[in-house]
């Protein structure tokens, strides 16, 4: 095996040169030592960052009331469920945004909710064509960044777990019910008569995706007329005064 012995001879020659006293061999030794040390340092630092992560505590409360939105409003959402994957790299949050209101008095049509803009840490999210996966975020100065790209998914639901939607200006014909998205949810997690979102976040400390952050959702209710809103609030037994409709003079 002449080629093997040739490689062995070359290695011996190189090793002998490195151990030599010449200036060249000294510089080579210093460069090699520095390179090895930098690699060891990087390895140590990398192990420290991965170990810590971000310790998150949410703010759910059993006394929080679900808000009622008429017209257009910006709401932050109330945490009603959260889950972390077993590898700690992905988290799911369920945020309740509003009660679903009733039928409009003016035209007997059911009220409909639409998702408008979604903000994360005061930056408006721009989604990919699926209307779910974040592509970029735009701040108030109009400057865009792609830190959140593919790290955040927002699943919107306009009336319970079986009514998925995407924000306005997006279309997606293949949306899933909430129990298919949120881990360990079943059909009994109906989120009945609630407008809510499920936020899925994948940890990335380099892109600063390390906690839930500050969310704002602009939602719009088709119930906007004052008479409709007053009548709904006066007669609804879930979130309103519960007055018998027969006792309300409505024209």
């Amino acid at each position: 095996m002449s080629w093997l012995s040739s490689i062995g001879d070359l290695a011996k020659t190189a090793y002998g040169w490195l151990r030599g006293d010449s200036i060249g061999s000294s510089i080579a030794r210093m460069a090699l030592t520095g390179y090895v040390l930098s690699k060891v340092s990087d390895s140590i630092n990398e192990k420290d960052e991965k170990r810590e992560g971000s310790r998150i505590q949410l703010s759910p409360d059993t006394k929080n009331s679900v808000p009622v939105v008429y017209g257009k409003a910006t709401v932050s959402g109330i945490v009603v469920d959260a889950k972390i994957t077993t590898n700690y790299q992905t988290m799911y949050f369920c945020l309740a945004l509003s009660e679903v209101t009733g039928t409009k008095l003016s035209d007997s049509a059911a009220s409909e909710f639409t998702f408008k803009d979604i903000y994360w840490n005061d930056e408006r999210l721009i989604f990919k064509s699926d209307g779910i996966t974040a592509d970029s975020a735009v701040d108030s100065a109009g400057i865009s960044n792609t830190d959140c790209r593919d790290k955040i998914q927002v699943y919107c639901y306009k009336n319970g777990s079986s009514n998925p939607v995407v924000p306005y200006n997006y279309t997606n014909a293949s949306l899933s019910s909430a129990d298919s998205i949120f881990p360990d949810w079943t059909a009994n997690h109906a989120m009945s008569d609630l407008v809510f979102v499920i936020v899925k976040m994948t940890y990335d400390d380099k892109q600063d995706v390390t906690n839930l952050g500050d969310w704002k959702f602009v939602i719009e209710n088709s119930m906007t007329l004052p008479g409709d809103c007053l009548y709904d609030y006066m007669t609804n037994t879930r979130y309103g005064a519960g007055i018998d409709p027969a006792e309300v003079y409505s024209v």
Partner: protein, 203 residues
């Protein structure tokens, strides 16, 4: 609302009380509650209003006065029924009258014929609310060795009740299941309080 009686030479009026008790029991040993409607008036004859036949109690029924105001305000009304027999006391104590709805109407009649006057809003609703308290009083006659019982119902109007009402769904399992018994969406909220998540940690 106002009723114009100026064109009538004589008027007879009566007060009609309707109580709907959703937790009525005839005796303490009765297994469950039922819904019972009580209809009585201070008239001396039976009167039917909107299909409900009111029992005449005459002077045994007294109702505190209420005032008509321009602005809607809450008023408390007391309804006292006297001359209750001892046999009625058990069902009064076994039932839960507190929280029952009460409506008091006033009707105007032709005293000659006993017929309702045909005018708008007759009979008119004078009071609508809920029973907030009740008291039983006994007057015992030593000489006759008999007792006479009376019940007083303290009633708060719907205006008062609504001014104190707190409605809305809370983010907890009990509130969610009160409205949707099979919905478990908020079952984990209590366990999430104070929970830490090590997001991004490597094992």
């Amino acid at each position: 609302m106002t009723i114009n009686l100026s064109s009538y030479g004589s008027v007879e009026s009566g007060l009609f009380v309707k109580i709907v008790c959703s937790k009525y029991k005839a005796t303490f040993s009765t297994p469950g509650f039922t819904t019972e409607t009580f209809l009585f008036s201070d008239m001396s004859r039976e009167v039917t209003i909107a299909g409900d036949l009111y029992t005449p109690l005459g002077k045994l029924l007294s109702i505190t006065t209420s005032s008509s105001e321009l602005k809607i305000s809450g008023q408390e009304v007391s309804v006292t029924i006297s001359g209750l027999p001892d046999s009625s006391l058990e069902d009064i104590q076994a039932s839960r009258f507190k929280g029952s709805s009460i409506e008091i109407r006033r009707a105007f009649f032709n005293p000659a014929t006993g017929a309702f006057y045909s005018i708008t809003d007759n009979p008119m609703l004078r009071f609508k609310g809920n029973i907030t308290n009740l008291s039983l009083n006994e007057e015992y006659s030593i000489e006759e060795r008999t007792s006479s019982n009376s019940i007083t119902l303290i009633c708060a109007s719907v205006v008062d009740i609504m001014s104190k009402k707190v409605a809305g769904r809370k983010t907890n399992p009990d509130s969610q299941k009160f409205f949707y018994p099979t919905d478990v969406s908020m079952d984990r909220v209590p366990s999430l309080i104070g929970t830490y998540f090590d997001f991004g940690k490597t094992k």
